[in-house]
């Protein structure tokens, strides 16, 4: 597909509303048209990536008082990355991860791509 020159620069780098660190970075952006003609942009539903294999994760035993953002800071150096752990364990509510002390949480190792 050859893109016409006029619209080529619409798809500019960094134009995605979610930054690279966000879980919605790969989400498709849809456009909803209201009855009065205004366009509303929204992120389409994000499907969970494939669960990582056992050799791509490391187990972590939850301590009392831990929160998902603690795990993010500890394993990734960024508290905002807790969603990677929630994705790998599939839980609906991130608080479920650390609710009971002693639960074993699978932490995805860095560099793992959800292909």
């Amino acid at each position: 597909m050859i893109e016409p020159y006029e619209t080529a620069l619409d798809d500019i780098p960094g134009a995605h509303p979610y930054p690279r660190t966000s879980r919605y970075h790969d989400a498709e952006i849809g456009v909803h048209r209201l009855p009065d003609g205004t366009e509303v942009r929204y992120a389409k539903r994000r499907l969970l990536p494939k669960l990582p294999d056992a050799d791509n994760t490391a187990p972590h035993v939850v301590n009392a008082g831990e929160r998902p953002d603690h795990l993010g800071q500890r394993f990734f150096g960024d508290p905002g990355q807790w969603w990677r752990i929630a994705d790998a364990n599939p839980v609906l509510d991130p608080r479920e991860l650390t609710e009971e002390p002693g639960r074993v949480v699978e932490v995805p190792t860095p560099g793992g791509f959800d292909v």
Partner: protein, 379 residues
């Protein structure tokens, strides 16, 4: 919460190797990796150099080297994970490897050098004719042959429309695919490069204008005490870099020669500086008399646009302090360099220097004028 975390720092490197289809390298190889240097430039091909530690009885010497694990044309993919966010920075092929054996213990190294996947396009000299195909269509036809290495193509139609006429001229390729695609890009003021990612094993071949629009990357801070992320930054203003091309075309019927008007490079290169540098040099383009007027116009525009970047900057960045990887071929803001040189720049090239415990990036920036256009940059 006192256990040792999985990784020892927020930067992780993952290395995949293999013939065409890659897989993660065995742990012995990862442990032996001493340093990695990866260069990516806008409009040129990327290169890499990996250095491994060699010990006499290691698995690399005994098994992997003789079995051809590091042979030329082995594919190498390097991905960097910073704060949990993975980025693919290289997808390339090994070109040569060197083993340096030393009498000093721990000084023997294996150095692997290579280039990115566009090397595949540079291996075979080809002759081909392209009747009735515009430049972008020719590029599309060439790039279609390389899909099995996971190369997708993104091709932008040339800015000056050049309708092909088979009766007048049939374009002919007599070089390697890469040279021909690069020549076509140069004739239109475009760039051709391979962008690895977003997943390992995939990459995008881009043939189009430099993307000088959109959101800036996180700004580079210099001379700002503890907030500096850049160790040093040098700016140079080269007055003779910009030239004003003069293109003349001849009408084959009347033999009249006309001088084409000066092209406006604004659409191809949105200005980044407030005070554009003047063109000191004037240069007549050779060979334009024989061309169609559209093609001569494209050539003049390309020459004016690619020579416009009179201001260049270069420096070194500490990724651990900056917190983000600087990506080439995108815009970035600079602050702390004074009124003249602050503002947005196009990142021309980036060299990643990775060793255990340090990640430095050397970069070069460019733009066409002095003084920032806006009074803020993205922090």
């Amino acid at each position: 919460m006192s256990e040792v975390p999985i990784g020892s720092g927020p930067v992780h490197l993952s290395l995949h190797m293999g013939p065409k289809l890659t897989k993660p390298v065995p742990p012995e190889v990862t442990e032996a990796l001493l340093s990695a240097q990866i260069t990516s430039t806008a409009g040129e091909r990327s290169g890499f150099q990996l250095a491994f530690d060699l010990t006499k009885k290691s698995r690399i010497v005994e098994r992997l080297l003789p079995e051809g694990f590091f042979d030329p044309k082995t594919r190498v993919i390097v991905a960097i994970t910073i704060k949990g966010t993975p980025t693919v920075i290289l997808d390339g092929l090994i070109v040569r490897n060197e083993v340096g054996s030393s009498n000093q213990p721990g000084q023997s190294t294996l150095t692997v050098t290579g280039e990115d996947l566009t090397l595949l396009m540079d291996l075979e000299e080809r002759t081909d004719r392209f009747p009735n195909l515009a430049p972008s269509q020719r590029v599309e036809r060439i790039l279609r042959n390389y899909a099995d290495y996971g190369i997708e193509s993104r091709i932008i139609r040339e800015q000056v429309h050049q309708p092909p006429r088979e009766q007048l001229r049939v374009d002919y390729q007599s070089s390697t695919d890469l040279q021909y695609v690069n020549d076509l890009a140069r004739a239109n003021g475009y760039n051709f490069y391979l962008d690895p990612g977003p997943r390992p094993g995939r990459s995008t071949a881009y043939w189009g204008p430099e993307q000088r629009l959109g959101q800036r990357q996180h700004a580079l801070n210099v001379n700002m005490d503890v907030n500096s992320t850049v160790d040093q930054l040098t700016f140079a203003y080269d007055g003779t870099a910009r030239e004003q091309p003069e293109a003349r075309v001849q009408d084959p019927r009347t033999r009249d020669v006309t001088l084409l008007p000066n092209p406006d490079i604004g659409p191809l290169r949105p200005p980044l500086g407030l005070r554009a540098s003047p063109a000191l040099k004037r240069k007549p383009l050779s060979g334009t008399a024989k061309m169609d007027p559209e093609r001569a116009r494209a050539q003049a525009l390309a020459r004016a646009a690619t020579s416009a970047d009179a201001i260049s900057g270069s420096g070194q960045l500490d990724v651990n302090r900056h917190g983000y990887v600087l990506r080439p071929r995108e815009l970035v803001g600079v602050r702390g360099a004074g009124v003249t040189y602050d503002g947005d720049y196009y990142v021309k090239s980036v060299t990643h220097n990775l060793r255990v415990g340090s990640y430095q990036q050397n970069f070069t920036l460019s733009r066409e004028g002095l003084i920032a256009r806006s009074d803020t940059v993205r922090p």
